[in-house]
């Protein structure tokens, strides 16, 4: 054991002397590893960034909100089981809230109806199409997890009397009113006049699919007057304790069955959705992207590994006589094997460290230049890439090092 440690120490000393003596060659070889590590770690930061984007997007949906809808989220193969379901009516929010109120120790806080459709928003000459317009009650403010840029949500009176007021998403307000305040301005949703009483702060988009900043919220009664609610709606239910999501979901299913007067044994004719379901659908896609990305960038690391293998073969060839001498002095096979492995690993580690620093710099620069670009540098990345460097060194150095270890000492000594 002691002997092994001494041998390892000597091997590291020799490895660094060797690298120093062949600076150019070592640098060029390390370059291959550097490029590989930069590619892989950049991909790693991008994947983490995307992952974080996913998380952010998901949390916009609210991790304490259950969605009662006709369709489940995610892929549906047996669509015929859902198509015949009765639509979810906004009016069901009332009975549902009654059931919730009657349930002792209910895990549910409040159910809010939300009806929606696409509209075109207009102010003067300015126009925004595909605005997602929601009609909901004043209680929506209780489940809203976003900040106001200016103004406020509508109140019970405005809600009950169906006043034509609206709250605009950030992007719409900006498109219609530019730098001016939108508060108190009269604008049009599909030609129906609405008074702006609030503007939401910027929230960003959900996976780039739809933007929360591209929404308008109006009182449900006004929505009914302007657009009708024939298309159905959804109920958003806030839960009290997000750590007991599963139980809350069970309670909600029971409550909905009561509201819908479903018979025991009858299948639910509604779906209770939550962000976790989206996560489950998206995770395989995300993983697929990650695998493909890492595979492609891994190829550049592979090229770097071939460089290491090549340089180790050269080093073994050049030092054949030295190997013979070492064997004559009592080096075992293991000693020689480790020596060349350590040389390969050392170059890889140097390459890995340089590559990692470059990635760190790039991520920093990108983060400064494009704050919204999803890149993220992490400590685990440091450990992973160092581990990868070591593994690459061992794998690519093994064949030449093994060859060196197995050299016949007499043949090695006679080598010129």
């Amino acid at each position: 054991m002691k002997r092994l440690i001494y041998e390892l120490t000597e091997s590291f000393r020799i490895a660094f002397a060797q690298i120093r003596a062949n600076k150019m060659r070592s640098a060029l070889t390390a370059l291959g590893v550097i490029i590989g590590i930069v590619a892989v770690t950049l991909m790693g930061t991008a994947i983490r960034g995307i992952d974080k984007g996913f998380q952010n997007s998901l949390s916009m949906l609210g991790d304490d909100i259950l969605y009662v809808q006709k369709w489940p989220w995610g892929n549906v193969e047996d669509w015929w089981n859902y198509i015949g379901r009765p639509p979810i009516k906004p009016e069901m929010a009332g009975p549902l809230n009654t059931v919730i109120a009657q349930t002792p120790n209910s895990l549910l806080e409040v159910a809010v109806p939300v009806a929606g459709r696409g509209t075109t928003a207009k102010y003067g000459e300015n126009k925004v199409s595909n605005v997602i317009t929601f009609g909901t009650t004043a209680e929506y403010s209780r489940i809203l997890n976003a900040e106001f840029k200016e103004g406020r949500f509508f109140n019970d009176t405005e809600d009950a009397s169906g006043r034509p007021v609206c709250i605009l998403g950030y992007d719409i307000a900006e498109a219609l009113f530019q730098d001016r305040s939108a508060l108190g301005e009269q604008m049009f949703l599909n030609g129906h006049p609405y008074l702006v009483i609030g503007v939401m702060a910027k929230q960003g988009s959900f996976l780039g699919l739809f933007s929360f900043d591209n929404q308008a919220v109006v009182p449900l009664e006004s929505f009914r007057k302007s657009f009708g609610t024939r298309r159905g709606a959804e109920l958003r239910v806030k839960i009290k304790d997000k750590t007991r999501l599963v139980e809350a979901k069970e309670e909600l299913v029971g409550a909905m069955r009561r509201v819908r007067a479903q018979l025991p044994g009858e299948r639910d004719n509604f779906s209770v959705n939550e962000q976790g379901a989206i996560k489950e659908t998206l995770d395989p896609i995300k993983q697929g992207i990650a695998m493909a990305g890492l595979f492609i960038t891994g190829l550049s690391l592979f090229v770097g590994a071939i460089g290491i293998m090549n340089i180790t073969f050269v080093s073994v060839k050049e030092r054949t006589k030295e190997i013979g001498t070492r064997k004559a002095l009592g080096a075992r096979r293991r000693t020689i094997l480790l020596q060349f492995l350590i040389e390969a690993v050392s170059i890889c580690l140097i390459g890995g460290l340089v590559g990692l620093s470059l990635t760190y710099g790039l991520v920093f620069v990108v983060g400064q230049a494009f704050p919204s670009f999803p890149v993220e540098f992490s400590i685990s990345l440091v450990f992973v890439s160092m581990a990868v460097s070591v593994v690459v060194g061992i794998l690519s150095g093994f064949a030449p090092a093994w060859g060196a270890a197995r050299l016949d000492p007499v043949v090695a000594l006679r080598y010129e």
Partner: protein, 245 residues
């Protein structure tokens, strides 16, 4: 007139031989070179005892180095028996042979074979590393051995900062440092000018006086006459074996 390079043999002592170190019987070695089979050794029988100073002589290609490598456990015989300190070398695994070379044998090469990027001290320490000697003791012993061969003031020099004679002294220190049973030197003066060669042979003489067992391979009569016994090889066979005159 050039100084005579013949050794001054007056007044030298021959120490009594000790226990048997090397015992080879009817050893032969074949090398295959493509279709051709080369008989480097054709049945050599030899006994070498502790405290001997032996020269192996013979023309180039007579099998001196082959015999030397065999004696040094770098190579194993194709046929025949080799007992080193009573143990049969043929039955040893690679690592066992490596350990024998490390502890029992000190090699000195014609081309010195020093590690170019290591200091004299680090070169001499190498066999001690393989022996598992702790750093502190290692340094002390290596430094002492270098001082013994007259290089106490050259320890931190790299081989390319030393003369040929000094390099060979470093190599001899490296061979000595682990207190081996025998020192094997294959043409140790072959790459040195005659004057330096004589100095190296004087160093061997000194080492012999101190109780080392030495085997020197050479094809020069003047060098061989430093030894107390001369074995002559020809075409892989022992031609003669007797005391040096």
């Amino acid at each position: 007139m050039a100084p005579s390079l013949a050794p001054d043999l007056t007044g030298r002592v021959t120490r009594p031989a000790g226990s048997l170190v090397i015992d080879i019987a009817d050893v032969s070695k074949l090398y295959k070179m493509g279709d051709e089979i080369i008989h480097a050794l054709r049945g050599v029988t030899l006994e070498i005892r502790r405290n001997e100073y032996l020269a192996i002589m013979g023309p180039s290609g007579s099998g001196k180095s082959t015999l030397m490598n065999m004696l040094g456990c770098l190579d194993t015989p194709t046929a025949g028996r080799y007992l080193f300190n009573g143990k049969n070398v043929a039955h040893m695994a690679d690592d066992e042979l490596a350990d024998i070379r490390n502890r029992e044998i000190g090699f000195v090469f014609q081309t010195f074979n020093l590690l170019p990027r290591s200091t004299a001290l680090a070169n001499v320490e190498l066999p001690l590393i393989y022996a598992g000697v702790p750093a502190h003791t290692r340094r002390e012993r290596a430094a002492q051995t270098l001082t013994d061969v007259g290089l106490g003031d050259r320890m931190t020099h790299k081989p390319n900062e030393l003369s040929g004679g000094q390099r060979q002294r470093v190599a001899i220190a490296r061979a000595l440092v682990n207190h081996p049973s025998i020192i094997l030197a294959d043409e140790p003066t072959g790459n040195l000018d005659s004057k330096t060669g004589v100095e190296i042979m004087e160093l061997f003489e000194h080492l012999y006086d101190q109780g080392n067992t030495i085997i020197v391979v050479t094809h020069e009569e003047d060098i061989a006459r430093h030894a107390r016994r001369i074995v002559r090889l020809r075409d892989g066979l022992i031609e003669s074996d007797g005391p040096a005159l």
